[in-house]
């Protein structure tokens, strides 16, 4: 077995790929609207892990990836707040959180 100097970047990338795919699966398959929002947060976290890994392994002097991660965290917080507000307003009108019953935009 060869000796490693540090964890290979591929390990981080595989973890983030798997996390992203779990997030997509949850987004497509959950019927509870809160769980859909949680899946979106999982996907955003996968993207953040990717950015951080590249920032540390490829660009470890300028670390622009870490700045991007800060911005992604900001946007994710705003997205969660607005998403949950929309969810509450939907719940008030429909009295359900089932994704299958939100068909107001169907024609």
């Amino acid at each position: 077995m060869m000796s490693l100097e540090s964890i290979p970047i591929q390990a981080f990338l595989i973890v983030s790929s798997a996390l992203f795919c779990i997030g997509i699966w949850g987004l497509l398959n959950s019927r509870n609207a809160v769980r859909v929002l949680m899946s979106i947060e999982l996907m955003l976290n996968a993207v953040n892990i990717n950015l951080m890994a590249f920032s540390s392994y490829v660009d470890n002097n300028l670390i622009q990836g870490q700045v991007f991660t800060i911005f992604v965290i900001t946007v994710a917080a705003a997205e969660a707040a607005v998403g949950l507000a929309i969810l509450l307003s939907l719940y008030r009108n429909r009295v359900t959180v089932d994704m299958e019953s939100f068909n107001l935009l169907k024609w």
Binding site: V34, M52, N60, F71, A77, A85
Partner: protein, 199 residues
């Protein structure tokens, strides 16, 4: 990074397992409350991965924003909408499951193949600034990323106002249908939903 490589590998393995099993629990568990708390664990483990990558500031931001704000917000939303309801059965749920699972597995294999076969041009670790990353992030935020930084503040303001407007309950002094003054103490009483029977 001064931690020995064996310790790093052990930490990475444990954190990755917690992240992946926790994420599977988030999407697969029956109870939404368990999912929310597992999501908090996943966020904490991601912060641990950031610490392994020498990014203490982003790890602290992750814990503060995700665990302290987003996760608490999600738990509050669950408390507000948590109602036992029997979901309507869907006829083609099985084929839908199969198709989405195969799409996700295909995407996963594609991504892992790219991760493993591509030759990344890694920089030399001598350049690493290590623990000075917080200073460097501050320099970035106030020089070349100044415009996105300011736009982010406007975005947060818009999100705050938008969330308040969307989620507030209109308080009226008069009941619309009867014309009688509304009892303000019972403002949380259940109101007639507007769109329930419109299917």
């Amino acid at each position: 990074m001064s931690i020995a490589i064996t310790t790093q590998i052990i930490c990475f393995t444990v954190l990755s397992l917690v992240i992946l099993i926790g994420a599977l629990g988030v999407v697969l568990l029956e109870s939404i409350v368990y999912s929310a708390f597992l999501l908090g664990g996943v966020f904490m483990s991601v912060a641990g991965l950031y610490l392994l990558l020498n990014a203490s500031f982003v790890a602290a931001a992750q814990v503060l924003v995700y665990v302290g704000a987003v996760n608490v917000l999600i738990i509050f939303a669950i408390m507000l909408v948590n109602k036992k309801e029997d979901l309507k059965p869907i006829n083609d749920i099985k084929s839908r499951r199969i198709i989405s699972t195969s799409i996700c597995l295909t995407l996963l294999s594609l991504l892992i193949r790219v991760d493993l076969t591509n030759i990344w041009s890694l920089s030399s670790p001598q350049n690493s600034i290590g623990e000075e990353s917080t200073i460097r992030i501050g320099e970035h935020l106030f020089s070349d990323y100044l415009l996105p930084f300011e736009v982010a503040s406007v975005l947060l303001l818009m999100a705050m106002i938008g969330a308040i407007v969307l989620a507030r309950r209109d308080v009226m002094s008069k009941d619309i249908s009867t014309g009688l003054p509304v009892d303000q103490e019972l403002i949380e009483k259940s109101s007639e939903p507007l769109l329930t029977n419109k299917n």
